[in-house]
Assembly symmetry: C2
Homo-oligomer: 340 residues x 2
């Protein structure tokens, strides 16, 4: 088969790769219905995370079960499934507590490179969630979003303790930040402030349920949020960038006793101890345990209640993978979907 | 009157100071029954926090109301009261949410220097909690502990989501860490692991309810906690030191999805972003909103259910303030109480 392989900074190719095979009896092979580029794929693409080997790319996926290993009990060939970037057994004590991304048996599914027509998924019974019936083609982008950006935005909103009556601020207007707006709306937030200076992303944020847009950032952004909240700060703030600046902006936008949910992967970002201490906020984040939310997210999507697929504003065949990455790197696209 | 004044590193004197007076109509003046040295007083004592001016010291207090301002409604001369190091109005939205230490009108009571016979307490109605009756002399050390170390340990345990069935680890065997053991016990923890290598502190931890002692620290300490928790880590970990090492030890002792309550004031401690991100724990801490817990703590003490006053293992007259600081600095004493 042919899939995306990163050879070096900004050098990504649609290249020959071996077909994935069942390795463990708990594996499944799926035929992808679509795949896409994650904001976190841009770190290695830009050369910030370096690898000396050509690396198969991609970790977001949904599609049809092609084959299952002999120990797989709950899935069968032909089912449409969605999974997360971390495989999980869904039975250990950590999974039972809702932290599937840190399952005692977790494995990175993306190691197989999901930007390809086929993918091996370990721990298939625990990892993959089937839809009730085969979804229409129109639902595929939203189901693909559930695999990572929506699940991550949902975790961020949950970590930020979003709920009825709360004022929520979202730092970061990428696909995860925008999906966090969907989550905040569904979780009953009273006011949802999207911090964005890009007209097309502002428009989508409003469509997803944002009640206010703040274009300022840094000190000015913090001052603006304080002004809008009688000087107190927001109850819940979502950080979906991963830089030091964004993290401190999020912390400083939060009222004492409030909650910050952070899902941007920190790159060179340390949190200054004294600032964090005196801010007196709750901090929670990390690689989202998307699996926890998948059954609910799939239902919301299949019932037409949310449409996170709108974050894909560029669709290309996988053969044009290089252009798909370029468009996101240059911020011409929010998120690129590849047809396979 | 004469009280403790810090002139420079390790130069603390029992010195003449002006008698405090009512400044605002919401003030009270209290006559202290006892006062003490806080672990955080050692930072300026050691010259880590520097001031160019002679500084009145101390922020832990309990005693008898001597005088109240004209706007004080709920207190009267002669009552025995306990307050926190931050004055709070107890009515604003932040206080109502339980974050009195960040009250929109908060003031640092310690600015007046509580290591003295008299102290001005701002926002007296919101700040001071009276006992039902005048306590016996034997209860004074425990009521004094409620003013800071016990309230701080209690906040740490609450921030770490301690509760029935949980395994709790406590990093730091100072008075706050030891009081966190009392809190964990009262909050129903199943297992309480005190990390300490000092025999006298281990003994007190066990007396307060610790079920296990771990003497290792750093990597070895983390490995030991993992070993004791089937490789998962503790559910709840309390950080009561304030150094980078202690904070990372606490984070690494915590299972994914678990909670770290941190109350050690960070000194030059930054939290590495990636480590915090991938640890996937909840972090909450800051200057403890002691006022939230005072009514409950006072009842537990007056009913004889807890005896946090045992953390005071050295009692001196306030005139020997220099020796009281020296003993704590050299770790000869856990905590020094001064009779006034």
């Amino acid at each position: 088969m042919r899939g995306a392989v990163l050879y070096g900074p900004k050098d990504i190719r649609f290249d020959e790769r071996p077909d994935p095979k069942i390795v463990a009896a708990t594996d499944a092979i799926i035929r992808l219905s679509a795949t896409c580029v994650c904001g976190s794929d841009l770190w290695p693409y830009r050369g910030v995370d370096r690898s000396s080997e050509p690396t198969p790319m991609g970790h977001e996926y949904c599609g049809i079960v092609e084959e299952v290993g002999s120990a797989v009990r709950n899935l069968r060939r032909g089912q449409f499934v969605v999974g997360s970037f971390f495989a999980s057994d869904n039975t250990c004590e950590i999974c039972q507590a809702g932290y599937h991304s840190r399952c005692v048996h977790h494995e990175y599914v993306g190691a197989g490179g999901a930007q390809a027509p086929f993918l091996r998924v370990p721990l298939a019974d625990g990892t993959l969630v089937p839809t009730r019936e085969l979804p229409s083609k129109a639902l595929v982008p939203s189901l693909l979003a559930a695999s990572d950006v929506l699940g991550t935005g949902w975790f961020a909103a949950t970590a930020a303790a979003v709920g009825p009556g709360k004022t929520v601020a979202v730092v970061g207007d990428g696909a995860v930040g925008l999906c966090a707006v969907i989550a905040a709306k569904q979780l009953g937030a009273e006011r949802i402030i999207a911090m964005s200076r890009h007209p097309s992303r502002q428009k989508l944020a409003l469509e997803f349920g944002a009640t206010d847009i703040v274009t300022e950032r840094g000190d000015e952004g913090v001052a603006r949020i304080k002004e809008m909240t009688r000087g107190l700060g927001a109850h819940s703030v979502i950080e979906a960038v991963g830089s030091s600046e964004a993290m401190m902006q999020a912390i400083r936008c939060t009222r004492p006793g409030g909650h910050v949910g952070f899902v941007g992967v920190p790159h060179g970002a340390d949190f200054p101890g004294q600032d964090v201490f005196f801010a007196e906020v709750h901090l929670h984040g990390g690689p989202a345990p998307v699996r926890r939310f998948l059954p609910e997210l799939i239902d919301l999507i299949c019932d037409g209640k949310i449409d996170p697929g709108k974050v894909f504003d560029l669709t290309l065949p996988l053969s044009e993978v290089a252009e798909g990455y370029r468009a996101m790197d240059e911020r011409r696209a929010i998120k690129t979907l590849f047809t396979v």
